[in-house]
């Protein structure tokens, strides 16, 4: 299966959520290795029966789990009627900070299970993220391929509401709080009237519970995206999380 065929399977022409599928990993030529097949089998096994999503209807899912576990759970959720929408916005590469090969392999190896789900064109979305996207820091010689999500990577609250989505379930492991980048997205949705719930799969009895998304730093600020972007860019040489002082924040660095 070539790159375009693979993309078309996850992002069919008539799919209601196809425009949001990120093409980056699909566009990367990749040859499956035996260990990747084994790793995917293990991820699929872990996902099986791990969590049952709500009956599809007015709920969207955001699966923010590490690497192939997110994709494997998305395929499981497809069997329950949710359309996986991969949002992986990062490249493959030698000596990369975030190893994306297992995800790329999962896209290929999960495609039959996805097809078997026979999803409706307007099936509710399950947005799939890699919780490792901001992990670690690059060392010399490494390829820094960490990434962040932005509000514009997702449909707006208007679109979700117009398509009958009323609530969003955030699925994570080890926490009920969204990551900072995702909080920018969820807060916009919450403000527009969508109900936000979270489930921690590491808890003993994982069940969605309502959360209030707190206002993250720089929410709605002038140049918010630029600030985060600069933070990400500058930190390709030194770690995420900083905000570049500029004329709109402080005078530091600009006299």
């Amino acid at each position: 299966m070539n790159e375009l065929e693979l993309y078309s399977r996850w992002a069919p022409d008539d799919g209601a959520w196809t425009p949001w599928v990120k093409p980056v990993l699909f566009a990367a030529p990749h040859t499956l290795a035996d260990e990747e097949r084994e790793a995917w089998r293990a991820a699929a096994e872990r996902a099986r029966g791990r969590w049952t999503p709500p009956r599809p209807g007015d709920t969207a899912l955001v699966l923010d789990l590490p690497g192939p576990d997110a994709l494997a759970l998305a395929v499981e959720c497809a069997a329950h009627g949710y359309r996986p929408v991969p949002l992986f916005n990062s490249c493959l590469g030698r000596n990369a900070v975030v190893p994306n090969e297992p995800l790329r392999a999962g896209l290929e190896l999960g495609v039959d299970a996805l097809a078997a789900a026979r999803l409706l064109r307007d099936a509710a979305p399950a947005f799939v993220l890699d919780a490792r996207r901001g992990q670690g820091g690059p060392k010399p010689l490494m390829f820094d391929n960490r990434w962040r999500v932005f509000a514009q990577d997702f449909p707006s609250a208007n679109v979700l509401l117009s398509r009958g989505i009323r609530s969003v379930v955030l699925v994570q492991a080890g926490t009920n709080s969204p990551s900072i980048d995702l909080a920018h997205v969820l807060l916009r949705w919450q403000t527009a009237g969508l109900s936000i719930q979270a489930v921690d799969l590491a808890s003993t009895s994982p069940a969605p519970a309502p959360i209030r998304v707190a206002k993250p730093a720089w929410y709605g600020a002038l140049f918010q995206r630029l600030l985060v972007t600069i933070g990400l860019r500058r930190n390709s040489a030194g770690g995420f999380g900083e905000v570049v002082p500029d004329a709109t924040t402080t005078g530091t660095g600009f006299a």
């Binding site: 022409d13 916005n89 010399p140 390829f143 960490r146 509000a151 449909p155 002038l222 040489a237 709109t248």
Partner: protein, 404 residues
Amino acid sequence: MNSPLAVAPRFSSSEYAELRRRTIFECGKWDPQYEDGCVLAEFALVLTPEVRDELGELAEALAREALAAEAELAARPELHAELGLPRAIRSALREARELGLSPGVARVQRFDFHWTTDGWRISEVNSDVPGGFIEASGLSRLAAETLGLALAGDPTAALADALARATPPDGAIGLVHATAFTDDRQVMLHVARALEARGRRTCLLDPTQLDWLDGRASAATAWFAGPLDALARFFPAEWLPNLPASSRWRHFFRGARTPLSNPGASLLVQSKRFPLVWDELATPLPTWRALLPETRSPREVDWRANDAWLVKPALGRVGDGIGLRDVVAPREWRAIARSARWFPAHWAAQRRFAALPVEAGGEPLYPCLGVYVIDGRRAGIYGRIARRPLIDARAQDIAVLVNA
């Protein structure tokens, strides 16, 4: 006033779907969606050869003047603060007096033209790290095939040719960018393919992965190690000072012997406050004076009360932070106004022009034509179009073609 821009018939839904797919997979455009909208327009803009040539001549004149002004400004450090440049960059440029300016090669500039009630006007030059190569070369080529029209030029090919001319046949070129950012990496991969087709080796890396020895750059990565014959930079110059000093980023401004496309000094004329120093320069700038709206310090004009003026950040990009009171959301306007009031030295006030829309499907849309000049010669057009008279991240990319 008759528009020099025509709009091609809207692509059929199957043509459009095919165009989107091919732009992603053949041209490497990985960001075709922005929130709820596809960033690829469903039709193309069409120019006559005469309009293409007129824009090309104007852009080449602007480029000549800009390069002359850049050279003069580089030798006039006392003017750099007026341009709103960060202190660290001003310091690096001052060091050029002893160490020499870092040499430029394959100089790329893009001038953003708008059709207005007064004819053609420009809003800015992107002289540092202009983007749009995938769209201007790739998307436009696919649209040209679909519609049977001609390309307005191929900036990717022109850039790759210029870099190939500047390097030996088996030379290695470093493509410097923020590797974590796929929007930038896609452009670098697109350029890398064109360079490799011309027999050059390429290395994609971030600026901290350069070693500088006696002004010569070499790559220190797990995938490529060794000297580089030229650097193509897609990392904005004003962000370089945010890198650790150990990265020796100042070589992008002074003291390098490896040629750069573009050198850091290109930021001198990219500043939106460039017009504030025109009267201090010996370089004549007749084309700039004719095409760029009057620009003043925000301290000098009442831009808050007078809608004839807008404000923009001195080093803003992609339309970020442009203050058009009746166009941007009230909350955004308040934030912009507050920032421009508190830090006027980092903003410019510019007289507004009245952009004229084209009509597509009964809807008025505002186009912007980014005309590339590479090594002094016109090299294609990057088109964008927006529902409001502001070209920012919400604008769509549009193929710009020419009637044969």
